[in-house]
C-alpha cells in the first residue's frame, strides 16, 4: 500500500536547478495572456479578457541537463495599470516583450516598454521580443525584417509566434532561460544573490553541498542541443519570410 512511494519519480517532477523570474510585457491585446496560457497549458485561451493588474503562473522547463522553474508574471497592458505592473519588473531575470504583428501601434511603443523593463528589471535582464499572432499573416502590419532589425539594434532576441496555433510558443521562454544560464556560466550573473531574478533550486543546492563548486560542464554539453532546438523554429521563420 505504501510501496508506491518513490522518491526518484517524484524528484523528476518537482525539483529544479534554477528558479527564474520572468515578466511578460507589451501593449494591451497583443496576446500576452494567451501566449502564457499556451505555454503553461498547451492550449489556446479562448475569450481572453484584459488582464487586471498582474497574474502569476509557473512552469518548469528542461534545458539540457538543467531543470529550470519559471515564475511568470503576466502583466496588464492597459495604460491605467502601468503604475501597478511596473512594480513587478523589479529584479526580473527575463522579459518576454510581446507585440502584435497585425498592429503597428503595438510595435511602435516597444522602446518605451524596453526602457522601463531595463530600468527596473535585473541588471542582466534578458529580453526576448515576440511578434505574436503569426497565424494572421494576411493582416500583417509589421514586417519580420523590420522587427528583426529593431531587435538587433536594441540587443534583444526576436522571434514570431502564435498563441493560437502554438507555433514557436515555447521558444522565447527557452531562449531566455538559455541566455540567463549562459550568463551564470560565464560568471556574469550570480544566482546566490537576491535580486538577480534567479536562484538555485534544491537540486542544484544539493549538488553545491556535495561538491565544493558548481560545475556547468553539463550545461556546455547541452547547449548545442538547446541551440539546435531553439534555432529550428527561427530558421523556419526566416525561410518563410
Amino acid at each position: 500500500m505504501a510501496n508506491d512511494y518513490d522518491i526518484d519519480a517524484t524528484e523528476l517532477l518537482e525539483t529544479y536547478d534554477f528558479l527564474m523570474k520572468y515578466i511578460i510585457i507589451g501593449e494591451a491585446g497583443t496576446g500576452k495572456s494567451c501566449l502564457l496560457h499556451q505555454f503553461t497549458h498547451n492550449s489556446f485561451k479562448e475569450h481572453s479578457q484584459h488582464t487586471i493588474g498582474v497574474e502569476f503562473s509557473s512552469r518548469t522547463v528542461k534545458l539540457g541537463e538543467k531543470r529550470i522553474k519559471l515564475q511568470l508574471w503576466d502583466t496588464a497592458g492597459q495604460e491605467r495599470f502601468r503604475s501597478v505592473t511596473r512594480s513587478y519588473y523589479r529584479g526580473a531575470a527575463g522579459a518576454i516583450l510581446v507585440y502584435d504583428i497585425t498592429s503597428r501601434a503595438s510595435f511602435l511603443n516597444l522602446s518605451r516598454w524596453l526602457a522601463d523593463a531595463r530600468a527596473l528589471g535585473s541588471p542582466h535582464l534578458v529580453t526576448v521580443l515576440v511578434g505574436n499572432k503569426s497565424d494572421r499573416e494576411e493582416d500583417r502590419e509589421v514586417e519580420w525584417a523590420e522587427a528583426s532589425r529593431w531587435a538587433a539594434e536594441n540587443d534583444v532576441h526576436f522571434l514570431e509566434a502564435s498563441s493560437l496555433s502554438g507555433e514557436n510558443v515555447e521558444a522565447p521562454f527557452l531562449l531566455c532561460a538559455r541566455s540567463i544560464l549562459l550568463a551564470i556560466e560565464s560568471g556574469a550573473l550570480d544566482p546566490e544573490k537576491a535580486g538577480s531574478g534567479v536562484s538555485y533550486g534544491d537540486r542544484a543546492l544539493r549538488r553545491v553541498h556535495s561538491s565544493s563548486r558548481l560545475s556547468f560542464g553539463s550545461l556546455s554539453g547541452g547547449r548545442r542541443k538547446g541551440t539546435v532546438k531553439l534555432r529550428l523554429p527561427l530558421a523556419g521563420k526566416t525561410r518563410c519570410c
Binding site: 517524484t10 479578457q49 487586471i52 503562473s57 515564475q71 512594480s87
Partner: protein, 750 residues
C-alpha cells in the same frame, strides 16, 4: 567334413579294387579320413614322439621329441591307443618329415606296431602312479582345508546369530530414526513458516537501524522501514481480529512496532523541525521530495506536525520580514535593484512597490507551501488572482494558516509606511490614487489569501484609512471652497479662481475614478446598465462632497458680493458657475445624476433670467409703461383714459419701440452676452423676445379695441415699426410663431 567338396574321396574310391569288404570299407574310411585336421595331427605327433626318442637315446623316444613334449604326449598316447589306423598315418608322417635318426628305415614303425599296446599300458600305469602320489598330496591338503572350513562354518554360524541379534536391536533404532526424520521434516516446515512469519512480522535490524539511527537520514530507506512497520501492524491487526482473539505474539508485535513507529515519527519531527529552522535564508525555497513525504507522514501525528509547522511559520515570518526590510532599505546586492524606500518621495511608486513585493512574496510562499503539502496538482494551472475555494481540504487549511502567519508579519511594517505616506499627502488626488491602489491589492489579497487573512484585513484597514484620508481631504477642500469670499473688485462674471482650482481637483479625481483599478472582475459579465450604476454609486459621495459646496459657495458668496456691489450681475455669474460645473462633469458618464441636479438649478435660474431679461426689454422698448397701465386699469375703463397710456404716451412708446428695433441690442443684448454658454444666452433672449412679441400683439389689440377709445388707432400703430403687424415682428426676431417662450427656455425643466 567327409563330404565336404574340398576333400577328394572319389580319388581313393577309383583306386580301390574291393569296395565291399568291411575291412576295406573301414580302411577306406580311415584312409578317406582327412588327417589334415589339427587333432589328428597332434595325435600322430604324440605317437611319433613316443617312439622316436628311443632310437636316438636309449630305447624308443627321439631326444628332441622328449624335450619338446612332456606329459602331453602321454595323454595323446592314451587317446590313440585303440585306433589302428593311426599307425599307418604315423608311418607316413616320418616319411613326410624325414626321420633323420632312423638307422634302419621302418624299424621304428615295426617296433611300434609290436609294442604299442604294452608301451601304452605301461605308460598308463606309470601315469596312474604319478597321479596317485600327486592326489595323495592333494588329499592331505584337502583334509586340512576341510578342517579350516569346519572352523569357518562355526564362526559363520556365530556371526549369523550375532547378526540376527544386531538386526533385532537395529530395528528399534531405525524406527526411531524414521520418526526423528519425520519430526525433523515437520520442524523444518515449521521453521520456514516461522521465518516467513518473522520476516512478515518483525523489522530487520537494518529496518530498525533505519528508523532509530541518527546516521540514517530521513529518506527512502527510512520511509521504507516505516512502511514496513505500518504494514506489520496492519497485518497483525487483521490476524488478531480473527476468532482466537489477540495472541501474546500479536500484542508483542503491536507494542514493538508501535514503539518503533513512535521513534520514527519523533525522528521525522526532529528532522523537520531542524530543516524548518534552516529554511529561512532564501526567499525562494524548493521542497525536496523527502521533505514533502515527511510532512505527509507527520500528518498522522497532528501534535508533532503542529509543532513543526509552528517552527516553520515562525521562521518564514521572520525570513519574510527580514527580506522585506532588506528590499525596503538595502535593495539587492550592490544596491540593485534599488531599495524600495529610495522612492519614498514618489508615494504611489513607493506604496506600489511595497505591495507588489508582498504580492510576489505571497506567490512564492504559496508555491513553497503547495510543494510542501504536495498540493501542486496543476503546475502553472492556477493563477494567483484566481478565486480559490477555502477551507476545503486539511492541506488547504494548513496552507492558509501558514501563509497567513508568514505574510502576517509584513502587515505592521507595511501599514506603518503606508499610513505615513498617506498622512504626508497634501494632495487629495494622491491620497485617492493610493486608496485606489490599496483597494486593488486588498481585492487581490482577498482572492489569494481569503478575506479573513491578517493581510487582507490590514489592507482593508489601510484602504479605509486611505479613503478616509481622501474623503477628509475632499471634505476639507469642500469646506475651504465654502469659506471663499468673492473678490469685490473683480467684476467679471466668469467662475472665480477658487472654483477653477476646485474643479481642477474634481476633474483629476474623476479621471482617476474613471480608470480606477477597482473591483472590475466582479463586474465582468454584468450589463452595461449595472456597470454604470455601480460606477455612479462609487462616486456619488465624492460628487456630493465636491460639487455641492461649490454650488453653495457660488450662491452664498455671490449674494454677499451682490449686496456690496449691486451692479455686479449675480444671476449671470451663478449661471456661469453652474454651467461651468456641468461642463466639468460632462465627460464622465457616471456623473449624470449630479449633472441633472445642476441642470435643475440652471433651469430655475434661466426662468428667472428670462423674466428679468423680458422686464428689461419692456423697459428698453417703452412697452413696459403700456403694460403697467394695462395692469393698473380698473374695471372696463378705456385704456386711453389712463394718463400713462394716453395717445401721446402710446405714440412715444411705439416710437421708442421702433427705435429699439433698429438698435443692435436686438440681436446682441449686452447682459446676456456675459453668459459663458452662448446657446443659453440666445435661448433666454429668444424666450424674452417671444414674450415681447406677444406683448406687442396685446398692445395692438388693445389699441385697435374701440372700447379703449384710441383715435385713429390704425394710423397710430401704422406710423411706427412694425406698423401694427405682429407677424412682421416675428419675422424681424426670426422666431417661429409656434414657438412658445416657455418651450424655448425649458429643455429639461418641464
Amino acid at each position: 567334413m567327409l563330404t565336404s567338396p574340398t576333400s577328394p574321396p572319389p580319388k581313393y574310391q577309383t583306386s580301390s579294387p574291393r569296395p565291399h569288404n568291411p575291412l576295406s570299407i573301414r580302411l577306406y574310411k580311415v584312409l578317406a579320413a582327412n588327417l589334415d585336421d589339427d587333432t589328428t595331427k597332434e595325435a600322430l605327433h604324440t605317437l611319433a614322439d613316443l617312439y622316436a626318442p628311443s632310437l636316438l637315446n636309449d630305447t624308443k623316444v627321439k631326444p628332441q621329441d622328449r624335450e619338446l613334449k612332456g606329459d602331453r604326449e602321454r595323454l595323446n598316447d592314451i587317446d590313440d591307443e585303440d585306433d589302428d589306423t593311426k599307425e599307418d598315418a604315423n608311418t607316413k608322417l616320418p616319411a613326410q618329415s624325414p626321420a633323420l635318426a632312423e638307422t634302419v628305415p621302418g624299424e621304428i614303425a615295426a617296433r611300434a606296431r609290436r609294442n604299442l599296446k604294452k608301451d601304452v599300458e605301461s605308460k598308463l600305469a606309470e601315469s596312474s602312479r604319478r597321479f596317485l602320489t600327486a592326489f595323495a598330496e592333494v588329499d592331505k591338503q584337502l583334509d586340512t582345508l576341510q578342517e579350516y572350513i569346519g572352523a569357518m562354518r562355526l564362526r559363520c554360524d556365530d556371526a549369523q546369530s550375532q547378526l540376527g541379534e544386531t538386526n533385532e536391536a537395529c530395528k528399534a533404532l531405525l524406527d526411531r530414526a524414521g520418526s526423528l526424520r519425520e519430526q525433523r521434516q515437520e520442524i523444518s516446515t515449521r521453521q520456514s513458516m516461522v521465518m516467513v512469519f518473522l520476516s512478515r512480522f518483525t523489522l530487520t535490524p537494518e529496518d530498525v537501524e533505519a528508523i532509530t539511527s541518527r546516521e540514517v537520514p530521513v529518506g527512502k530507506r527510512f520511509f521504507n522501514a516505516m512502511n514496513k512497520a505500518e504494514r506489520i501492524r496492519n497485518d497483525c491487526r487483521v490476524l488478531m481480529a480473527g476468532e482466537e482473539g489477540p495472541t501474546k505474539a500479536g500484542l508483542d508485535i503491536m507494542s514493538t512496532t508501535s514503539g518503533y513507529l513512535e521513534e520514527a515519527y519523533e525522528k521525522i519531527f526532529r528532522w523537520c523541525s531542524f530543516a524548518f529552522r534552516e529554511m529561512g535564508r532564501d526567499a525562494q525555497i524548493d521542497v525536496s521530495p523527502a521533505m514533502r513525504e515527511a510532512v505527509r507522514r507527520l500528518r498522522q501525528r497532528p501534535e508533532l506536525l503542529t509543532e513543526a509547522l509552528g517552527t516553520l511559520s515562525q521562521t518564514r515570518q521572520a525570513t519574510l520580514l527580514n527580506n522585506f526590510t532588506t528590499a525596503l532599505t538595502r535593495g539587492g546586492p550592490g544596491g540593485l535593484p534599488r531599495p524600495i524606500e529610495l522612492h519614498a518621495h514618489d508615494p504611489l511608486r513607493y506604496v506600489g512597490d511595497m505591495l507588489a513585493w508582498v504580492h510576489q512574496a505571497i506567490a512564492a510562499e504559496r508555491e513553497f507551501l503547495e510543494g510542501l503539502f504536495g498540493a501542486r496538482a496543476e503546475e502553472g494551472g492556477r493563477m494567483v488572482g484566481a478565486v480559490r475555494a477555502y477551507g476545503g481540504t486539511e492541506e488547504e487549511d494548513w496552507m492558509s494558516e501558514l501563509m497567513d502567519t508568514a505574510v502576517g508579519g509584513l502587515c505592521t511594517p507595511l501599514m506603518i509606511r503606508v499610513q505615513q505616506t498617506i498622512r504626508s499627502q497634501e494632495s487629495s488626488i494622491t491620497a485617492y490614487k493610493i486608496a485606489n491602489l490599496l483597494q486593488f491589492y486588498m481585492l487581490t489579497m482577498q482572492r489569494t489569501l481569503g478575506e479573513e487573512a491578517a493581510l487582507s484585513k490590514r489592507l482593508r484597514e489601510m484602504t479605509d484609512y486611505a479613503y478616509k484620508a481622501f474623503s477628509d481631504a475632499v471634505e476639507a477642500q469642500g469646506r475651504s471652497i465654502l469659506g471663499i469670499h468673492l473678490d469685490l473688485d473683480d467684476l467679471t462674471l466668469t467662475p472665480p479662481f477658487a472654483i477653477l482650482d476646485h474643479t481642477q481637483i474634481l476633474r483629476e479625481i474623476l479621471t482617476v475614478y474613471e480608470s480606477s483599478l477597482g473591483d472590475e472582475s466582479s463586474l465582468r459579465g454584468k450589463s452595461a446598465k449595472d456597470v454604470n450604476e455601480a460606477a455612479a454609486q462609487g462616486c456619488r459621495a465624492i460628487l456630493d462632497q465636491m460639487v455641492d459646496p461649490a454650488v453653495e459657495m457660488c450662491v452664498l458668496a455671490s449674494e454677499e458680493k451682490h449686496r456690496l456691489r449691486p451692479s455686479w450681475d449675480r444671476e449671470i455669474f451663478i449661471i456661469n458657475v453652474l454651467t461651468y460645473l456641468q461642463s466639468v462633469l460632462e465627460p464622465y458618464s457616471f456623473t449624470a445624476e449630479k449633472r441633472d441636479v445642476i441642470q435643475d438649478l440652471v433651469a430655475g435660474r434661466v426662468v428667472q433670467l428670462i423674466e428679468d431679461h423680458f422686464t428689461g426689454l419692456l423697459v428698453d422698448t417703452g412697452l413696459g409703461e403700456m403694460v403697467d397701465a394695462g395692469k393698473a386699469r380698473q374695471g372696463d375703463e378705456p385704456l386711453s383714459h389712463l394718463p400713462a397710456a394716453s395717445s401721446s404716451r402710446l405714440q412715444a412708446a411705439l416710437h421708442k419701440f421702433s427705435v429699439w428695433l433698429t438698435s443692435n441690442t436686438v440681436d446682441y443684448p449686452p447682459r446676456l452676452g456675459q453668459l459663458s454658454v452662448q446657446s443659453l444666452a440666445s435661448r433666454v433672449h429668444r424666450a424674452a423676445l417671444a414674450r415681447l412679441v406677444r406683448t406687442y400683439k396685446w398692445l395692438c389689440e388693445e389699441v385697435r379695441n374701440p372700447e379703449n377709445k384710441y383715435e385713429a388707432a390704425a394710423t397710430v400703430l401704422g406710423s411706427e415699426r412694425p406698423f401694427g403687424q405682429v407677424h412682421l415682428l416675428w419675422q424681424i426676431f426670426g422666431i417661429d410663431e409656434e414657438e412658445t417662450g416657455d418651450d424655448i427656455v425649458t429643455d429639461k425643466t418641464t
